[in-house]
Symmetry: C2
Subunit: 454 residues, 2 copies
């Protein structure tokens, strides 16, 4: 080779533990019961969560051992490659060194299986025979379909109806892995039937899908409900990403000045950034962490820090976090994975404590960066990931202006092979830039529970 571009680890380099940032931050805010505003303990959380996952969720231990069976399944696609984006650097004419950690090599094309496999394992261990989940764009749903298939379990996924209709490929992928995929709202649950009776053409929402999945899980003790993002244990499972990246950057004899991730529910960003933050918090080198979110769903940049529900239907407990209000309805944006009114409490806490910055980016500037990246690096990024690319490109161009040779690492959380209709729209100029109306923004904020405001 003229120069190395890929840093490859062996199967034996797959991390043996998940890292829990809660261990390194004092005074983690408890999860509250909405009725009593008192902290929820293992018993209450255990209603819808396998006991080992509850333990991780409430833990302040720094590490959880990865079960051998999960680690073995990780080997189907991990360690994932870390790339030096030499061609992109050249294209930008920047002195910056750009690296990206590519999770799109995972079977379903995104980072989601890192937690889906773990949750499937613990649910099976607890005697569950089936998994259930809600999904928007379909990334979590397909990860759960895969994980269930690997563990010999069945799976049912409630998919937001408008995505179910617009993204038949994702639905078909879930079915190929053996899962049942249901358009939500559906006639299979009481809440679904109620909503359809009121409005037969309801397009569905993540909140409704989540309520349907929870209703089925509560009624069937053999079914385990799974969570795609936000919670502490989900963030911990994703830290295999950042842990591998640290090892790979050692091979490159480099260390990032800046780490960038796209930010929706927060677990992808957490997975990449937290292991670096751990080093920083424990005497390591300073590193800037940047959360890149859509301007149309500006949870970190314009949301409030408050106790709020994680779903529109108010079936979840209350979490202290940045929120746009559980009643917030984001404008349609093709980065479906980033359309969350709330964010992982641990990410929220990082921003609150000044450990992480956040930037809000418009859809078209993100696709522009995504296409630039695709043509330079040969990988079509997921629309979600283009936010991290845009923020990285902006930093790299700043380096060019200032003549600074910084090292920037970003998370390429998934590929865009299932999102080509969005690229089609971008090329035809039909992609709205999703200016968020003041009215919708205020409406969202007004839904934050008064009593519980932090």
């Amino acid at each position: 080779m003229t120069y190395p571009i890929k840093y490859t680890l062996a199967e034996s380099d797959i991390p043996t533990t998940w890292y829990n940032l809660a261990a390194d931050l004092p005074d983690i805010a408890p999860i509250l019961d909405p009725a009593t505003l008192t902290p929820l303990g293992p018993r209450e959380l255990g209603r819808s969560m396998a006991a080992p996952l509850v333990e991780q969720e409430l833990s302040t231990e720094p590490e959880f051992e990865i079960p051998a069976e999960v680690r073995q399944l990780y080997a189907q696609y991990r360690p994932t490659p870390l790339y030096r984006a030499r061609r992109l650097e050249k294209e930008l004419g920047t002195p910056a060194r750009i690296y990206y950690k590519y999770e799109g090599v995972a079977p379903t094309g995104s980072f989601k299986p890192n937690s889906a496999l773990a949750q499937a394992y613990y649910n099976k261990q607890q005697g569950k025979t089936s998994l259930i989940a809600e999904t928007g764009a379909g990334q979590w749903g397909s990860a759960i379909a895969l994980a269930a298939s690997f563990f010999g379990m069945t799976a049912q996924v409630f998919m937001v109806k408008v995505s179910y209709q617009q993204k038949p490929y994702r639905r078909a992928l879930m079915e190929a892995f053996g899962a049942t995929c249901v358009a939500s709202p559906s006639v299979e649950t009481e809440i679904g039937r109620r909503i359809l009776a009121e409005r037969p053409d309801h397009p569905g929402s993540l909140g409704v899908a989540k309520s349907e999945a929870l209703e089925v899980a509560y009624a069937n003790p053999e079914i385990g409900y799974t969570r795609g993002s936000a919670l502490n244990h989900v963030c911990a499972h994703q830290t295999v990403i950042g842990q591998e990246a640290i090892r790979q950057l050692e091979l490159a004899e480099d260390y990032p000045d800046i780490v960038v991730g796209c930010s929706g529910g927060g677990s992808n960003l957490a997975g990449l950034a937290f292991p670096f933050l751990r080093e920083r918090l424990n005497g390591g080198r300073p590193v800037r962490l940047i959360a890149a979110e859509p301007a149309s769903c500006p949870t970190l940049t314009r949301g409030r820090i408050a106790y709020d529900y994680a779903d529109a239907g108010r079936m979840t407990p209350l979490f202290r976090m940045h929120t746009l209000g559980h009643g917030f309805v984001p404008p349609p944006v093709h980065a479906g994975g980033l359309r969350a009114h709330n964010i992982a409490p641990l990410i929220s806490r990082c921003v609150e404590d000044g450990l992480m910055e956040a930037v809000a980016l418009r859809q078209n500037e993100c696709f522009e960066a995504g296409v630039l990246f695709a043509r330079a690096e040969g990988i079509l990024p997921a629309p979600e990931s283009t936010h991290a690319i845009r923020a990285t490109v902006d930093e790299a161009l700043r380096c060019r202006e200032r003549g600074e040779s910084k090292a920037i690492l970003f998370g390429l959380s998934g590929h865009g092979n299932f999102d080509l209709t969005a690229y089609d729209k971008y090329f035809s100029g039909a992609l709205p830039d999703d200016a968020l109306s003041d009215e919708d923004f205020e409406h969202g904020l007004s839904s934050i529970p008064e009593l519980a405001r932090a």
Copy 2:
């Protein structure tokens, strides 16, 4: 790890040469001029082929050095992983050891860039500023779009109209890489306009698309015409697959008794199998080579060995090979990449000489094996690749019956993420099994040129 499942090589292990099987087979049949039936030399072939590629095409040297720039670009996705299919073995209850070489990690999801990058390099070296190609399902077209983008060239792809309409994702992928994709027949060429005048709703065919691409290339000296399969130099470029597999099986301390590949134009199969055949022909271990083709397009199992054109429009020279006749119209089958009336002359020769076997498989039994594989291994295979999987599963089940512990290696030539509508049809039972009618079969054979029959 409890057991290894992936055998990973470093960038420095990317092969440094391409292997040319023509060196190890005596009396390679020449390519003939259809008018004079005399062998074509470098000057004639040079009309539509870059000089270094002509040289490779006619060469009987065993190795061509891979240019440093191509090897550097290979590093974007090579070496590709070799897997031991432990979970599939368990599912089948077979004592066989099953390995697969996975080319779906390439940027466009299939093995095609291995040759596209090489052809782009040589065309650029010869002063071409643009690449042109025809494409059916879109795999070659997207590989050319990618390669052109990497070399700073423009690209134009004529895509069979029915695929253009049915596979918008593939078209959008080409456009994302910056290529222009045109539905063929088009108004951009004389032949296209003539066909459309006769039949405005013509659905297109590979033969027509090839004629359009050639017409444009002949008229524009700055445009390089590219070939996705069949020719000797394309087969050689693909041998990086088998060469890496040999190294990886050394890591696994194993050697295959059987090597299986799906067979359409033949270059994927050649790429995997020829390096093993090289060892066998040069005193190495015996290895069975199996070509898995669709029963609906049974080139190797029911075709004749004869001199024939490579396209329906008779614009190519004559090649000696298995052929169903250039007038053969295969029934629609979702493994678009395997719908060729002819096959690589070198593959044909292997079958003729008894160095390789061929099996013909029905569509539904292939999808059945593909789904079994997807659920066990977590990778959704391309419909083309499911033929190799079916043949492998059949061999593995034979091993179970006989209690034989053979090592089987198959080529997983690409992923099926762009082919989910085909899986959808399979699940809904709507996939025809493409029984080839005697009439269509005989019609095809009757188009083989009389004079030139070998």
